[in-house]
């Protein structure tokens, strides 16, 4: 059961931000699939719940030039219906994450921005936003500011949101059509589950080894989603041979120190599986992969 609270239904963004800044123990409600569970479990004390769903101008999803703008009210289902996530290979990572997100009923309510705003390290949309280098548009009593998603996540369950600030939108760059992307994860069952760990991949200029840039981000292996610049460098700008891939996998595993208290996967398994997901992801995204990997580059 939910503990009692007051409910507010502002009509404008400024009203919503003012309420959030002034009311005690205020929480914003969009989809509710995270917030209400936290309130029920006593993990979040909320005496004032501010519903964003009637706020004008919050929007769902639209294309703005070379960006996809995901508004605060865009549900997972809305995102999965957006033409861009199916047409743009650089946004396939968003589609992949949506398809495994919760279940149908949850997808109809949960919002992408809400998922990011709760700042869980293993959130389905955490590592994808990191790998896409999305920007977070924050709106608060002092106005609007835009910060990179890497600055938005501060720690497990902690974000850069100040009092009365709302994650109004995510601005996601759309890579050229020569890019490829994917989201992979390990979970305990095949059906609805939280990720034990996840990996988001973006490969720019996928078919040109000399120009290729590999980006990767991992979720649920640290206090926030994280990138791996050294590993990305290893995999970029040259053919990915078997040796190079094994080196990258080893560096990726060695570079994470997950805490031992997770209920979903142990540190040993996470270390092994990031390497596996990297290889499985690259296998999926780079069609000439087998031949390329077979070619020996080292003496």
């Amino acid at each position: 059961m939910l503990r009692p609270f007051d409910y507010h239904r502002p009509r404008t963004l400024d009203e919503a931000c003012a309420l959030g800044a002034t009311l005690a123990d205020a929480a914003y409600l969009a989809g509710g699939t995270d917030l209400l569970v936290k309130i029920r479990d006593g993990k979040q004390r909320a005496r004032n719940v501010i519903d964003l769903k009637r706020v004008a101008g919050l929007g769902r999803v639209r294309r703005d030039g070379d960006h996809l703008v995901i508004g605060a009210l865009c549900t997972i289902t809305d995102l999965l219906h957006a033409e861009e996530v199916h047409a743009e290979p650089g946004l396939a990572v968003l589609r992949d994450a949506g398809v495994v997100f919760g279940c149908e009923e949850i997808r109809h309510r949960a919002t992408v921005c809400g998922n990011v705003a709760h700042a869980s390290p293993g959130a389905e949309y955490g590592s994808p936003m990191f790998v896409l280098e999305a920007d977070c548009v924050l709106h608060g009593p002092a106005g609007e500011r835009t910060i990179p998603v890497a600055d938005f996540y501060r720690g497990p369950g902690r974000s850069a949101l100040g009092p009365g600030e709302i994650l109004k939108a995510l601005r996601v760059p759309i890579a050229p059509r020569s890019a490829r992307s994917a989201y992979l994860r390990r979970s305990r069952v095949r059906g609805m589950d939280l990720a034990g760990l996840n990996l988001a991949l973006l490969v720019l200029d996928a078919t040109e080894p000399a120009r290729r840039r590999v980006r990767l981000a991992m979720g649920a292996v640290a206090g926030t989603p994280i990138r791996a610049p050294e590993v990305e460098a290893l995999l970029s700008g040259a053919p990915i041979t078997r040796d190079r891939l094994e080196q990258a996998k080893g560096a990726l595993s060695a570079g994470i120190s997950p805490r031992p208290t997770s209920l979903r996967a142990s540190p040993e398994y996470k270390k092994a599986m990031v390497a596996h997901l990297l290889e499985a992801g690259l296998e999926r995204l780079l069609e000439p992969f087998p031949e390329e990997v077979m070619a020996e580059a080292s003496p």
């Binding site: 609270f5 007051d6 569970v37 769903k53």
Partner: protein, 158 residues
């Protein structure tokens, strides 16, 4: 705790109630309206027993506040059967032997209804995607899948 007047359409009939802010849609349906077909299996959106249709979309009623449903149309399992008999989807669940303890059934039937309304000729992938968040501890699922396939075939046959 604030109180709010909400007006919903429940199974086609308008309902107005004053509710506390923290009441879920599930609680108001069950305790306020005696529509006990939607069940609380977990209270956290994990099992599907509380599923209802909100403006035609299947949602977890345990994770929707009653106030959020103000102005919306809610369909529960009780709204499916008509005076002339069970809905064809319900009949398919009977004929496919898909009910055992019955606790997951209202949620499953509504999820199937939402699926078939959107996609009358679903693939097995579509069925699993639509019903994948519904837990059943009794049947092992195969008769449930068969019920949805049977319902689709019968609908197609007219």
């Amino acid at each position: 705790m604030s109180r709010h007047l909400v007006t919903l359409t429940v199974n086609g009939a308008p309902v107005t109630r004053e509710v506390e802010a923290h009441r879920t849609l599930l609680e108001v349906l069950r305790d306020g309206l005696d529509l006990i077909g939607a069940k609380e299996g977990c209270g956290a959106g994990e099992c599907g027993a509380c599923t209802v249709l909100l403006d035609g979309m299947p949602v977890r009623a345990c994770l929707v506040l009653a106030v959020e449903a103000d102005g919306c149309a809610v369909a529960t399992i009780e709204g499916l059967a008509a005076a002339r008999g069970p809905d064809p989807i319900q009949q398919a669940f009977i004929d496919a032997g898909a009910t055992q303890c019955g606790y997951c059934i209202p949620g499953f039937v509504l999820a199937a209804r939402a699926l078939l309304d959107r996609r009358p000729d679903p693939t097995d992938d579509d069925i699993v995607r639509a019903c994948g968040g519904h837990l059943c501890r009794c049947t092992g699922y195969h008769t449930l899948f068969e019920a949805v396939r049977l319902a689709a075939r019968r609908r197609a046959a007219g």
